[in-house]
C-alpha cells in the first residue's frame, strides 16, 4: 500500500482494504491458523478446560512511554487469562481505525501487537478492520477476544478467600496511570517514568500450582483499590492494606501528591494482585521475587473479618476507609 494515511476507502471492502489487510495486518500477524479469506476458522490443538475473554482497548495517547496500544492490547487479554489460570492460545482481533491515521504509526502498533503475541505464545486466528470518519475515533481502537487453556492446578476463586489470608502485589502500582496521564496531557515531562504494560503470564504461571493460592487479578482500570473493593464485596470481609508495604515508585508518589490523586486508584497494566494463605503467600513471594517482573513484589495486606470495606493502615497507626470510586472525588474538608 502506498498511502501515508488511512483513507475511508481502506474500510470499504475494495482494493485498498485488501491491501491494508494483506500488506499490513497479515504481514505482521500471519500464522498457520490465520486464513484472511475464510469467514470462520477452526482452532487446532485445543483440548482441556477452555477459557475465553474479550476486551476493548482505547488508550490515549496510543503510543506512550513504555508501551503502545498494540502491545497493551495483547497484555490485557493474556493477563486476564493468566490470572484465571490459563495460557492464552488464540486471539481474534477487531481494529477500528480512524480516517487520517498515519499508516506508519498503524504499522508500528500492529507490529508491536504481533511481537507481544508471539512472545506470549498466542496466534491471531481471525480479524476484522473498520474505518471510521475523521473525528469519530481515537486513531485506533482494538477489540480482542482471547481463547486459552487452563493450566493452573489450583481453584482460583474469590469464594475461597477467608479472613486471615494475605494480599500480595507483584510490583509497584500506578506507573501506567501516571505515565499515560502525563503523556496525554502533554506536560512535556515524563520524568523517565514508564508504563508497566507487560505480560504477567510468567508471574501467574509461577504460582499456578500452589493449593494455598486463592485468587489473582490484574489491577487495570480503577487500580489496586478497585480490585480490593471487588474482593471485599464478594467475600463480605474487610481488606486491610498496609500503606508502608504497598510498593509505589517515588515519581508516582510525587506526581500524585502534587496533583491530588491516589496511586491506589491508578491503572496498572502489568501487575498481579494475589490472595493466599500466609504459608502460600511466602512461597508466592519467593517465586515472584526470583523473576525479573517480580523483583519488587510484596505482601501488602490481609483479609479481616468485619464490614466489607477497604481499609488503609498508615504507618502512624491511623486507619482510613478508601471509598469506592464513583466519579472524580470531590473535596470533603469543610
Amino acid at each position: 500500500m502506498n498511502e501515508e494515511r488511512i483513507l475511508l476507502a481502506h474500510g470499504n471492502g475494495g482494493r485498498f482494504m485488501r491491501e491494508l489487510i494483506g500488506e499490513l495486518f497479515a504481514r505482521h500477524l500471519g500464522n498457520p491458523a490465520l486464513d484472511t479469506d475464510a469467514d470462520a476458522v477452526h482452532l487446532p490443538d485445543l483440548a482441556g478446560d477452555i477459557l475465553v475473554t474479550t476486551d476493548g482497548f482505547t488508550v490515549q495517547p496510543i503510543e506512550f512511554p513504555g508501551g503502545n496500544l498494540g502491545s497493551l492490547a495483547v497484555h490485557g487479554v493474556v493477563n486476564d487469562l493468566a490470572v484465571a489460570g490459563a495460557q492464552a492460545r488464540y486471539f481474534t482481533l477487531s481494529a477500528i481505525i480512524e480516517e487520517g491515521l498515519e499508516v506508519a504509526l498503524l504499522d508500528r502498533l500492529i507490529a508491536s501487537f504481533a511481537a507481544a503475541a508471539r512472545e506470549n505464545g498466542v496466534a491471531v486466528a481471525a480479524g476484522d478492520t473498520k474505518v471510521v470518519r475523521h473525528g469519530e475515533g481515537g486513531g485506533l481502537y482494538l477489540s480482542v477476544a482471547g481463547i486459552g487453556v487452563r493450566e493452573a492446578t489450583t481453584d482460583l476463586s474469590m469464594k475461597r478467600i477467608a479472613p486471615g489470608d494475605v494480599v500480595l502485589v507483584s510490583g509497584p502500582v500506578g506507573d501506567h496511570g501516571v505515565s499515560v496521564m502525563l503523556a496525554r496531557e502533554q506536560f512535556g515531562l515524563s520524568g523517565g517514568l514508564l508504563s508497566d504494560s507487560a505480560s504477567v503470564l510468567p508471574l501467574a504461571r509461577a504460582a499456578w500450582d500452589l493449593p494455598g493460592l486463592k485468587f489473582m487479578r490484574d489491577p487495570t482500570r480503577g487500580g489496586l483499590a478497585t480490585v480490593c473493593h471487588e474482593i471485599a464485596h464478594a467475600t463480605g470481609c474487610a481488606v486491610v492494606l498496609d500503606q508502608g508495604a504497598v510498593p509505589v515508585r517515588g515519581e508516582v508518589v510525587a506526581v500524585c501528591e502534587m496533583l491530588g490523586y491516589d496511586p491506589y486508584f491508578l491503572a496498572c497494566e502489568g501487575r498481579v494482585v494475589a490472595v493466599a494463605t500466609p504459608a502460600a503467600a511466602a512461597e508466592v513471594l519467593a517465586r515472584w521475587r526470583a523473576l525479573p517482573a517480580g523483583a519488587e513484589a510484596a505482601v501488602i495486606g490481609r483479609i479481616d473479618a468485619g464490614a466489607a470495606r477497604l481499609i488503609l493502615e498508615t504507618e502512624l497507626g491511623g486507619r482510613r476507609v478508601l471509598e469506592e470510586l464513583e466519579d472524580d472525588p470531590l473535596p470533603r474538608i469543610c
Binding site: 496531557e185 506536560f187 515531562l189 474487610a238 506526581v255 501528591e257 502534587m258 496533583l259 491530588g260 490523586y261 464490614a307 470495606r309 481499609i311 502512624l316 497507626g317 491511623g318 486507619r319 482510613r320 476507609v321 471509598e323 469506592e324 464513583e326 466519579d327 472524580d328 472525588p329 470531590l330 473535596p331 470533603r332 474538608i333 469543610c334
Partner: protein
C-alpha cells in the same frame, strides 16, 4: 382515715438519674403529703393526697425546689380518686406505653461527694468512682432505659451491703443512684507500664503521678474515653507527646487544678468564662493566655489561646490534687477518630504514644469527648458537643411527620435523631474517613433509637456523594432525603432565633457541595428554612489538587494568584499546568480557603498539620496587631451573569504580599476587609429584600476576630445580628440543620 383531695401529677424532662424521686419523697414528708412516686419510662408519676393548699404548695415546689441538675417539666396534673394513703412511698419503676424519654448527660462530681472524697473518715475517702444521685456518669454508661442499675455498665458490680442500704434508703443522697459504688464493691484502677502492672486505686494513682512528674505520657481512662496526659509545664514532655501522636501544632487542652489558682495565673479569666468553666458540662473553654511562662510553649504554638478545663470526675480531682499542677488532657485517640474507650483497644492503639496507662474496669458504653466552647461576641459558643452536654435534647417548633435520622457532615460528624417535636444531637463522633468513626456512627445511631424507643423511618444526609456514611446509608434500606450543606448550616442557626421571619444568613466554611456543582463556602442566603435563596458569594476560584487544598494552604494561595492572572513562584509548574487544564481543580467560593490563602501569602502557614491551622494562626497574628489601623483594601461587589452578588477578593493579593507591612498588620487588614465585604453584601441584600436580621454560621465564624468585626460592622449599619449559642456553627451542627431544613421542605406550600 385522713381526708383531703388527691392529684395525679406527671413530670417529664430531666427527672431520671438526678435524684428526683428521693427529692419528691423528702418534700412530701416535709409538707405532710401522702401517696407515692414512681418512675415510668422517661417520666415521674406522683399520686399526692393532702388538703388543697398543701397540694398547691407541693406542686409548685416540685419544680421550684428541684435538685440542681434536674429539669422537671410538668406534663399532666389532674384530680384523682382519693385512696386514703397513710404515708408517702417510693414505688418500683413501672413499664409504660407512652415514652417521653430523657437520657441524662454525664454529671460533674458534686460538692457533697467531693467532701466525702477528701474526708479521711469517710468509707469512700480517696475512692475515684464516688458518685450520687446528683453526680456521676450517665450517658456513657447507660445500656438501656429505664435508667436502672442493671441497665448500666455497673451491672457487673453487685452492691455491697453498705451501698445497698444507701441505695434503698429514700432519705439517702444515694437512693437509687444507679452507678453507686464504694471501694468494697465498685470499680478500681490499675496502672500499666512497660515493666509492671499495679492494682489498687491508691498505688495505681501514685504510680501515675510519679510517671507524670517524671515527664512521661500516660493514657488515663476517664468518663467518656481516654485522655493522653502529661505535665503541661514541661517542654520536653509536651514536645514528646506532639512527636509521638503525631500532632505538630494543633492546640492541646489543659486540665487545671480545681482550686483555680494556677488557672487564674495562666489565662485571662472574666466572670463569664469562669462560670462557663465551672458549669455542669465542665467544658474545655478557649481562653487567652495571660502568663505564657506557666505552661509549656508547645501547648498551643503560634496561638494566643489555650483550651482550659477543670477536673470533673473524682478520678480527675484526685489526679490533679496529687500532681499539684496542670496536665495536658488531650483526647486519647488516633487523629480524626472517636476517643478510645475500651481498655484492650486503648492499650494496643495508644501503645506507640503512651508510656503508661491508668485503666479502670467500669466499661464505657459509648464515647463522649470533652465539649469545647469559645467565648465570642460576649457569649460562650459551642465548638464541639460532648461529655456533660450530649445528648443535647432540643425542641422543634413544628412536629415531624415521621422519625428521621440526620447524618450531618463528613468532618466533625455528629448525628441527630428527631421525632415528633423532639430532636437529640449526639456528641462529637469524628471524621468519617476512619473506620472507627463509621462504627461509632452506626452504634450511636442504633443506641439513640433504642434508648429513646424511636425507629427512624427516613435518613437525612448531605448532597455530597462522597461522604463516608454513604455506604452505611445504602445498607440501611431506609428512604433518604438529601439536604444541601449550606442550607443545613443556615437552618440550624434559624432554629435558635424563631422570632426572625426573614433572614440574611452568611454561611462561610471550608467546602461543601453547592447547588451549581461548585464547592460553596462563602455564601449569603436570604429567606428562611425551606426557602433559602443564595444571593451573594465570593468570586470563585479553582482549587489545584482538590481536597489537598484543605491541608495545604499554599494551594489556595496559588489558586488566587493564577485566577487573577498572576504568577505563583512557590507553586510547581506541573501543578500550574494541571490547573490550566482543569485536572482535579474544582471551582470553589469557600471563605475558608480564602483564609488559608491569606495565611500562606502572609507566611504564617503554608502547610497545615490540622484542619483550620492557617486561619487559626492568621487570627492569632491579627489579634497581636494591637490597635494599629491598617489601610484596608475595598473589595468590589458586583453581580455575576446569574445575578448573584460577588465580592472580588483580588485587591487583597497585593496587600497580603506587601512585605513593607508587618505580617500582623496584613493579617488584621485581611480580617477587616473580609468583615467589610460581609457588611457590604448585607447592605445590598437589605436594599433588595428589606431583611434586617443577619445570621453568621459555618466553621469560619469560629474565628472570634472576624465574627466580632462583622458583628460590630453590622450593628453599626443598623442590622440585628444573630449568632449561635446552642448548636455549633461548624459541621457538628449540620445534622440538626438537616432536620430543620427537612421539616420546612415537607411543610405543605400554601
Amino acid at each position: 382515715m385522713p381526708d383531703g383531695q388527691a392529684r395525679r401529677i406527671r413530670l417529664s424532662g430531666h427527672v431520671q438519674g438526678v435524684g428526683y424521686r428521693p427529692f419528691v419523697y423528702r418534700l412530701a414528708r416535709e409538707l405532710g403529703v401522702r401517696g407515692w412516686v414512681r418512675n415510668v419510662v422517661g417520666a415521674v408519676e406522683i399520686h399526692a393526697e393532702a388538703d388543697a393548699a398543701t397540694l398547691a404548695e407541693f406542686t409548685r415546689a416540685l419544680v421550684e425546689r428541684a435538685p440542681a441538675i434536674a429539669r422537671p417539666q410538668p406534663v399532666a396534673d389532674r384530680a384523682a380518686d382519693f385512696a386514703g394513703h397513710a404515708a408517702f412511698a417510693i414505688l418500683a419503676s413501672a413499664a409504660d406505653s407512652e415514652p417521653d424519654i430523657h437520657v441524662p448527660p454525664d454529671y460533674f462530681t458534686c460538692d457533697d461527694c467531693l467532701r466525702e472524697l477528701r474526708d479521711p473518715a469517710d468509707r469512700r475517702h480517696g475512692y475515684p468512682f464516688i458518685n450520687c444521685t446528683q453526680c456521676g456518669p450517665r450517658y456513657t454508661l447507660i445500656t438501656a432505659l429505664p435508667y436502672d442499675r442493671p441497665n448500666t455498665s455497673m451491672a457487673g458490680f453487685p452492691l455491697c451491703p453498705d451501698c445497698r442500704a444507701e441505695y434503698e434508703d429514700p432519705a439517702s443522697r444515694r437512693f437509687h443512684a444507679e452507678p453507686v459504688a464504694c471501694p468494697v464493691c465498685g470499680p478500681h484502677l490499675s496502672y500499666v507500664d512497660a515493666e509492671r502492672r499495679i492494682e489498687g486505686d491508691d498505688d495505681a494513682l501514685a504510680a501515675t503521678v510519679a510517671a507524670l512528674r517524671a515527664g512521661r505520657i500516660v493514657a488515663v481512662k476517664g468518663v467518656g474515653g481516654y485522655h493522653l496526659m502529661c505535665d503541661a509545664a514541661s517542654d520536653a514532655a509536651v514536645a514528646e507527646l506532639r512527636r509521638r501522636k503525631p500532632r505538630p501544632a494543633k492546640p492541646l487542652a489543659v486540665m487545671f487544678p480545681a482550686d483555680q489558682a494556677l488557672l487564674r495565673a495562666s489565662v485571662r479569666l472574666d466572670p463569664e468564662a469562669a462560670a462557663l468553666l465551672a458549669s455542669p458540662a465542665r467544658p474545655i473553654v478557649l481562653l487567652e493566655l495571660a502568663d505564657a511562662a506557666r505552661l509549656s510553649r508547645h501547648v498551643a504554638p503560634g496561638l494566643a489561646e489555650v483550651g482550659c478545663l477543670l477536673p470533673y470526675s473524682p478520678l480527675h480531682h484526685l489526679l490533679l490534687e496529687r500532681f499539684g499542677g496542670a496536665l495536658v488532657a488531650t483526647s486519647g485517640n488516633i487523629s480524626g477518630e472517636p476517643v478510645l474507650t475500651d481498655n484492650a483497644e486503648a492499650q494496643a492503639r495508644l501503645a506507640p504514644i503512651a508510656d503508661a496507662f491508668l485503666h479502670h474496669d467500669r466499661p464505657i458504653v459509648r464515647p463522649a469527648d470533652d465539649p469545647v466552647f469559645r467565648p465570642i461576641a460576649g457569649r460562650p459558643r459551642p465548638l464541639r458537643l460532648g461529655r456533660g452536654v450530649a445528648p443535647l435534647e432540643l425542641e422543634l417548633a413544628e412536629p415531624l411527620a415521621q422519625p428521621v435520622l440526620a447524618l450531618g457532615s463528613h468532618m466533625k460528624n455528629a448525628i441527630c435523631l428527631a421525632w415528633g417535636r423532639r430532636a437529640v444531637l449526639s456528641p462529637h463522633i469524628g471524621e468519617l474517613t476512619a473506620p472507627r468513626s463509621l462504627e461509632t456512627l452506626a452504634k450511636v445511631a442504633e443506641d439513640l433509637q433504642r434508648l429513646y424507643r424511636v425507629q427512624a423511618e427516613r435518613i437525612l444526609l448531605d448532597r455530597h456523594p462522597g461522604y463516608g456514611y454513604r455506604h452505611w446509608v445504602r445498607g440501611s434500606g431506609l428512604p433518604t432525603s438529601e439536604i444541601w450543606h449550606h442550607r443545613a448550616h443556615a437552618s440550624a442557626l434559624a432554629w435558635e432565633h424563631p422570632e426572625v421571619a426573614e433572614w440574611i444568613v452568611f454561611a462561610w466554611d471550608g467546602v461543601g457541595l453547592g447547588e451549581d456543582a461548585n464547592l460553596w463556602g462563602g455564601e449569603a442566603f436570604v429567606g428562611a428554612p425551606g426557602r433559602w435563596q443564595r444571593r451573594a458569594g465570593l468570586r470563585p476560584f479553582r482549587l489545584p489538587g482538590g481536597d489537598k487544598a484543605g491541608r495545604e494552604p499554599w494551594r489556595s494561595a496559588a489558586a488566587l494568584l493564577w485566577e487573577a492572572g498572576q504568577a505563583a513562584e512557590f507553586a510547581p509548574e506541573l501543578l500550574h499546568q494541571a490547573w490550566l487544564r482543569g485536572l482535579n481543580s474544582p471551582a470553589s467560593s469557600a471563605a475558608g480557603r480564602l483564609f488559608d490563602a491569606a495565611a500562606a501569602l502572609i507566611g504564617v502557614c503554608s502547610q497545615a498539620s490540622f484542619e483550620g491551622e492557617g486561619p487559626m494562626k492568621l487570627e492569632a497574628l491579627a489579634a497581636a496587631a494591637g490597635a494599629a489601623l491598617p489601610a484596608t483594601p475595598g473589595l468590589p461587589l458586583a453581580r455575576d451573569a446569574a445575578g448573584v452578588w460577588r465580592t472580588d477578593w483580588s485587591p487583597l493579593l497585593a496587600m497580603l504580599a506587601d512585605v513593607a507591612l508587618a505580617p500582623a498588620t496584613r493579617a488584621l487588614a485581611f480580617h477587616r476587609a473580609m468583615a467589610d465585604a460581609l457588611v457590604a453584601q448585607a447592605i445590598r441584600l437589605r436594599e433588595e429584600t428589606g431583611a434586617g436580621d443577619v445570621g453568621l454560621t459555618g466553621g469560619v465564624f469560629q474565628n472570634r476576630l472576624l465574627t466580632e468585626l462583622a458583628v460590630a460592622g453590622l450593628a453599626g449599619t443598623g442590622f440585628r445580628v444573630r449568632l449561635a449559642e446552642r448548636i455549633p456553627v461548624n459541621d457538628a451542627g449540620v445534622s440538626f440543620g438537616q432536620v430543620i431544613e427537612h421539616i420546612a421542605l415537607c411543610r405543605p406550600t400554601t
